[in-house]
């Protein structure tokens, strides 16, 4: 009986595992391709965002499914009440018959997650406790709750222009 070398056996084993992996992946349901647009995709943080909030437009989702917009926090960025590795929900809506959607951030979301305000016992935002997000590029994802389709885009928070 012919004896094979150690390396040949290892290659056979690796190929076997790879084949099993590919077979497993083939049985997974395909996830639709989705798109996301953040409007505007660059902004200075100001309280004008309460009246004219950040909006989201997307396509490629399953008709009528709920879509949630989340901010993926870069390493080192902390948001009040959000644990490390967690995303922050910014907005939600249902896709239409064609799988398209439009959504906008609610005032509470803008206040809680962009400005990180406190709240008074009178149920009003406490702007004295405000800790606005630092300028930078933040990844935003729109996730279909049924399909798990993900559309990605970014939101750039610009530094406030210096007062002259």
């Amino acid at each position: 009986m012919k004896h094979y070398g150690w390396n040949v056996r290892a290659i056979f084993l690796f190929l076997g595992i790879l084949a099993l992996g590919l077979w497993g992946c083939a049985s997974i349901k395909p996830v639709p391709r989705a798109k996301l647009q953040v409007i505007p995709d660059k902004t200075v943080l100001s309280l004008a965002l309460i009246k004219k909030p950040i909006q989201f437009k997307g396509s490629g989702f399953v008709p009528k499914e709920m879509v949630v917009m989340e901010m993926v926090l870069p390493p080192g960025v902390k948001i009040k009440t959000v644990n490390d590795g967690e995303n922050v929900g910014l907005a939600y809506t249902n896709a239409d018959e064609e799988g398209n959607f439009q959504a906008a951030m609610a005032p509470t979301a803008t206040l809680n997650w962009f400005f990180q305000v406190g709240w008074t016992p009178l149920l009003t935002p406490d702007l004295k406790q405000m800790k606005p997000l630092s300028p930078g590029v933040y990844e935003i994802q729109a996730v279909g709750m049924d399909s798990e389709a993900v559309g990605r885009a970014s939101l750039t928070i610009l530094a406030r222009p210096k007062k002259k």
């Binding site: 084993l13 929900g89 939600y92 809680n112 406190g118 149920l123 709750m145 049924d146």
Partner: protein, 408 residues
């Protein structure tokens, strides 16, 4: 030296088996547990209420776990601080929806319950929500903490009519209504209005106010012809409405009545006792002096919070009630399917079998969950502000079904 091919294969298989075996060993050794997810508010606008309820929930789970769990199964409480933001709550729901052992999700806003209902139904999960009447007489996956808002409202209206007659007044009283300008503020009237019309009470044009209104005078002035005024919103809103009414002299001739989240002993009654004297408050769980005197509430509060009972937060007892209902549902589910086959659907079926049981040791009325009823309990209780306390003025009573007048 070359190892023989067959021996080599055996060695690899043994390694694989060892690896697999040790992996399952970890799972087997892991404690049996089930999860209760609270999409709550610990630092946002309604934190004053939600924190107390979740303290009650978490403490009761500790209490049960300290006694070995439910048939050896530990109860895990996961609380997410959503800051009363529905998008954040949905994102958190997405994160946990497939967590092994998750059976029930508690949402602290009516809007959240409505938003996640379709997904929760698909996931087989029960979602608990405060008191939206739309779900009250249904077979849906949204279960109410207690009685729905409209039924509690008409329970107060019935008390008002009795009080009016007891005072020897003829005809029917005129009712004013002031509540938040949001879905919560309109909810009691979705069925409540139909009931009022049916019994012939005159309702003045309802006043809907922003939650943080600094002065309620302009709204109250329009309600001066009322004999009774129903005030809604979470404390301190109702306290501040009645504070302003007191300043206007309206509390002398008008009886004020509040909904579930009305003045509490630690907040509104403490800050404005004089203005609030005589105010009637409805509850679907023990409040005020009742809550302070309940042996289990006292025992668990003192054991886990190590503070005097006088420091009890407003809705701690409700948290205990929700946790005890979870425990009772779990016991039924385990009896029916066992831990290995326990699913969210088994819990959903189990909750519907709690009908007529006193699962909360009297913290709430008897449980009303059934295949066609989503009320935690149909029973409510009325309280009155006396001195610095809220004292009971009725036993548990079952109000008329007003939700069915609106949702047909």
């Amino acid at each position: 030296m070359n190892i023989h091919w067959t021996r080599w294969v055996i060695a690899v298989l043994a390694l694989l088996l060892f690896g697999w075996g040790s992996g399952t060993g970890d799972v087997q050794a892991k404690e049996k547990e089930v999860i209760f997810l609270a999409l709550s508010d610990y630092t946002g606008p309604i934190a004053g209420l939600a924190v107390g309820a979740d303290m009650g929930l978490a403490d009761y789970f500790k209490y049960i776990n300290d006694k070995g769990g439910v048939e050896g199964i530990k109860l895990k409480f996961i609380g997410v601080d959503t800051r009363y933001d529905v998008a954040r709550a949905i994102s958190a729901y997405r994160k946990y929806r497939r967590a092994p052992g998750l059976l029930v999700v508690n949402g602290y806003s009516t809007g959240l319950g409505k938003a996640i209902e379709r997904m929760a139904t698909k996931d087989g999960l029960i979602v608990l929500t405060p008191g939206d009447g739309e779900f009250a007489d249904s077979d849906r996956h949204i279960f109410l903490w207690g009685q729905c808002y409209q039924d509690a409202f008409v329970g107060v209206v019935d008390w008002m009519v009795k009080d009016w007659k007891k005072k020897g007044k003829a005809g029917m009283p005129t009712l004013g209504y002031i509540h938040w300008d949001n879905p919560l503020g309109r909810e009691p009237l979705r069925g409540g209005k139909e009931y009022i019309e049916k019994i012939g009470v005159k309702l003045l044009m309802p006043e809907f106010v922003p939650p943080a209104t600094p002065d309620y005078t302009p709204y109250l002035v329009r309600l001066q012809k009322a004999n009774y005024i129903f005030v809604g919103g979470c404390d301190p809103t109702p306290t501040h409405v009645i504070r302003d009414a007191h300043r206007l002299g309206m509390t002398k001739n008008i009886q004020f009545m509040c909904d579930y989240w009305g003045p509490t002993m630690n907040v509104g009654i403490k800050s404005h006792p004089e203005a609030l004297q005589g105010t009637v408050i409805v509850g679907f769980y023990l409040k005020g002096t009742d809550a302070l005197a309940h042996p289990l509430i006292k025992k668990i509060w003192e054991k886990y919070q190590r503070k005097p009972i006088s420091k009890l937060p407003p809705i701690y007892g409700l948290g205990l009630g929700i946790a005890m209902t979870y425990e009772a549902g779990l016991k039924i589910a385990l009896k029916e399917v066992g831990y290995d086959n326990l699913t969210a659907d088994a819990m959903y079926q189990a909750y519907q079998k709690l009908t007529g049981m006193d699962v909360t040791q009297g913290i709430q009325g008897t449980c009303s969950y059934s295949p066609k009823n989503r009320r935690g309990s149909k029973e409510i209780r009325l309280y009155r502000v006396v001195g610095q306390n809220a004292v009971p003025i009725t036993d548990w009573i079952v109000p008329p079904n007003a939700a069915s007048l609106h949702f047909k």
